[in-house]
Symmetry: C2
Subunit: 253 residues, 2 copies
């Protein structure tokens, strides 16, 4: 088939993740797919880029309409190397995931899955990050794949504004519908667990739990997920707080 869209697929769980295999399967229904993914897990890498070491990309597989590369960099590096060297033309979509675990609320800030989607939209391409609220390596992606297909088609039909991408989170288990949401306000608390090694030196593991500042507020992504709805948050790369911008005009420096 000619004129099929070119889709750049990536993730932050690395080349061996089940969520990547499942996402690739869905995307191959809709277009020509080039996968460029980290060779190891890169969870929590946000929009990190590699500035201090050279990057490598290795072709691992090639068949009709599908090519797979692994890269020694971050999710954002994968997108950059895809755009600049591995793809023979500008892709029509960047699709990241399906992440094993939620990226709702402020987790969007830390997420490598969303770092890659944000990078795609910085390149002017319609981009989406998909996450399933199930951390299990062998999670069941059956419903998630149907959701991905529906949302991808809606984006293909409607397009996305410049510098805006989608953060899609899919509940574990039943899916009652799809809801366009805003990012929930909240924070992580007791974030680092202290332990002592056999040499009496302290060390710390990232841990903690999430505190939702607005647990009962309809229209937030976590409220949708709590009620078994898929949350779709449009994410902007313009981080200016325009309200504060107006207020600060009165400041005297």
């Amino acid at each position: 088939m000619k004129d099929r869209p070119l889709i750049l697929v990536t993730n932050d769980d690395g080349i061996h993740a089940k969520g990547l295999k499942e996402l690739t399967e869905v995307m191959r229904l809709f277009g020509e797919v080039v996968v460029v993914v980290p060779e190891v897990a890169m969870s929590g890498m946000s929009s990190a880029i590699t500035v201090d070491k050279p990057l490598r990309a290795t072709k691992m597989k090639e068949e009709e309409g599908y090519t797979l590369f692994k890269c020694n960099g971050t999710p954002v590096d994968c997108v950059k190397i895809g755009f600049n060297h591995l793809l023979d033309r500008h892709p029509d979509f960047v699709v990241s995931g399906i992440n094993h675990g939620s990226n709702s609320s402020i987790s969007v800030v830390y997420s490598g899955t969303m770092g890659a989607a944000i990078e795609g939209c910085l390149h002017g391409v319609a981009s989406m990050g998909f996450s399933l609220c199930d951390y299990a390596q062998d999670a069941d992606f059956t419903r998630a794949k149907m959701v991905v297909a529906r949302i991808f088609q809606a984006v293909a039909e409607n397009g996305l504004p410049h510098f805006t991408c989608l953060n899609v989170n899919i509940p574990k288990g039943e899916v009652k519908g799809i809801e366009v949401c805003r990012q929930t306000s909240g924070k992580w608390v007791e974030e680092l667990e202290k332990r002592t090694d056999p040499h009496q030196r302290d060390y710390y593991w990232l841990s903690g739990y999430f505190k939702n500042f607005e647990p009962d507020t309809a229209g937030t992504d976590m409220h949708a997920l709590d009620n078994q709805y898929v949350s779709v948050v449009p994410v902007t790369v313009d981080m200016t707080c325009h309200e504060t911008f107006q207020q600060m005009k009165n400041w005297r420096f």
Copy 2:
């Protein structure tokens, strides 16, 4: 002096950076300072967190009103470990920098300096990231320090709204004034330089140049910097694109 504010200082250029020493000097004029910084340079680390290895923090120096720790993690890890274990109370401010090099426009997305400031405001604390538009290791911070003092005082006086921090960029050379700005729209192009190693294998270095989409637009941070003004952009951690959110309500899934 009692009741002096507690200031958590960090950076992404690491413990040996001149910009850290200069920032610490200024902050010690205003309060009790605890520095928690990466032991190595962590440029471009964005809001990355360390999930796959234990973190360590080592006290390197302690004198009246000043303590210095190094940490084996990212700038965000430094802030988290500071809040959760190293500080004996909640700090009043988080101040990050002074970065060697600009973090204007979309560089805010990749910046470890701003990752740390964003982390501070996620913890509900007034937070600022400072960057000098000079990459030199021995850059002259004389004017930058005066700017930091003035902006810090303005924040101490006015406060900052919840979930909003400041991205401050200081021009190299002459400083004509301080301007409250919004983030410039632009992108990086030709971002990766391809080379071939002695074994005929390709590798890539991050490089490229920045393309400003609105070079003549007053009120943007790069316009301010181009005219030798300090740019102050209020940055929000709510990444929802509220305009798109409204538009998407009409989408059919």
